[in-house]
């Protein structure tokens, strides 16, 4: 049995995670399994008509990817909250880097983490946050 990990500390940086690039087949699979079949994510011509050089990746697919990142960091915590704002699109074919940093830790609030998803541009694609609390029985199930 391994010793429990020390509690996260404010300022601690989470290991960055790279995801993607996502191709058309990946976006089609996500659309099919999630039910979000908005043609903007699947149709090159429609994306071009709106001004995108390629269809944007579903924002929800990217926000959801913070969960495995957080669990890879601390599987001994339960993700009580995850939310984010979709600031700008990530286009099909872009790599995405997920980063995070612990902002606050308290017994009442838990561990509050600021999260970012960056595509190929300097500005973040998603600004997000998560609140983690000690898992009652060894992690999310």
């Amino acid at each position: 049995m391994s010793a429990p990990l020390p509690p996260p500390e404010p300022g601690e940086r989470l290991p960055a995670m790279e995801i993607g690039p996502f191709d058309a087949a990946a976006l089609a699979r996500y659309a099919e399994v999630s039910g979000d079949d908005n043609p903007l994510h699947l149709d090159d011509a429609l994306a071009a008509k709106i001004g995108f050089p390629a269809p944007p990746v579903h924002g929800m697919k990217l926000l959801a990817a913070f969960e495995p990142m957080l669990k890879a960091w601390r599987s001994d915590f339960f993700i009580a909250e995850l939310g984010g704002t979709f600031v700008q699109p990530v286009l099909r074919g872009d790599k995405v880097t997920l980063t995070g940093r612990v902002l606050r830790v308290s017994p009442e609030e838990g561990v509050f983490v600021r999260l970012y998803a960056h595509g190929s541009s300097r500005a973040p694609a998603i600004m997000a946050d998560a609140t983690l609390r000690p898992a009652p029985s060894g992690g999310n199930s």
Partner: protein, 137 residues
């Protein structure tokens, strides 16, 4: 309190029974890079894409000659979702005017009524006239 904050929540549809189907959850988990043996916390996104909910939103947007743009999303949990479990899903809608938004709040409870979680979806309502057009085709 602003007028928007005071806006009323109105049910978008009747409460419905939903489930974390293990096979579907595993497929969803693979597409987000998560562990397919656990229920992803974002899995309610699948429930929120049901035709009855999408149709209600589409009708509102059609009346406004606008398109919905997913602006923000939040999931809050009192307890993790469980593979194979059934839940009650209630979805309410609030409109904001400045700027125009639809906010959907989905409340997840056990069939016995115990709170499980809440999801909030913010959709920016963008007039079609304001969308960029690269060409007229």
């Amino acid at each position: 309190m602003t007028a928007d904050a005071a806006a009323e929540w109105t049910p978008l549809c009747a409460p419905m029974r939903v489930a974390v189907d293990a096979a579907q959850a595993a497929r969803y988990a693979r597409e987000i890079g998560a562990d397919p043996s656990a229920a992803p916390l974002s899995f309610p996104a699948v429930w929120l894409a049901q035709p009855v909910l999408r149709a209600a939103i589409a009708q509102i947007c059609e009346e406004a000659d606008a398109v919905p743009v997913h602006e923000a999303q939040r999931f809050q949990y009192a307890a993790p979702l469980t593979l194979g479990a059934h839940y009650e899903l209630a979805v309410a809608l609030r409109r904001e005017e400045k700027p125009p938004r639809l906010v959907l709040q989905a409340t997840v409870t056990t069939p016995e009524g115990a709170p499980v979680g809440r999801c909030e979806t913010t959709l920016r309502i963008v007039p079609r006239a304001g969308l960029p057009k690269k060409d007229a085709a």
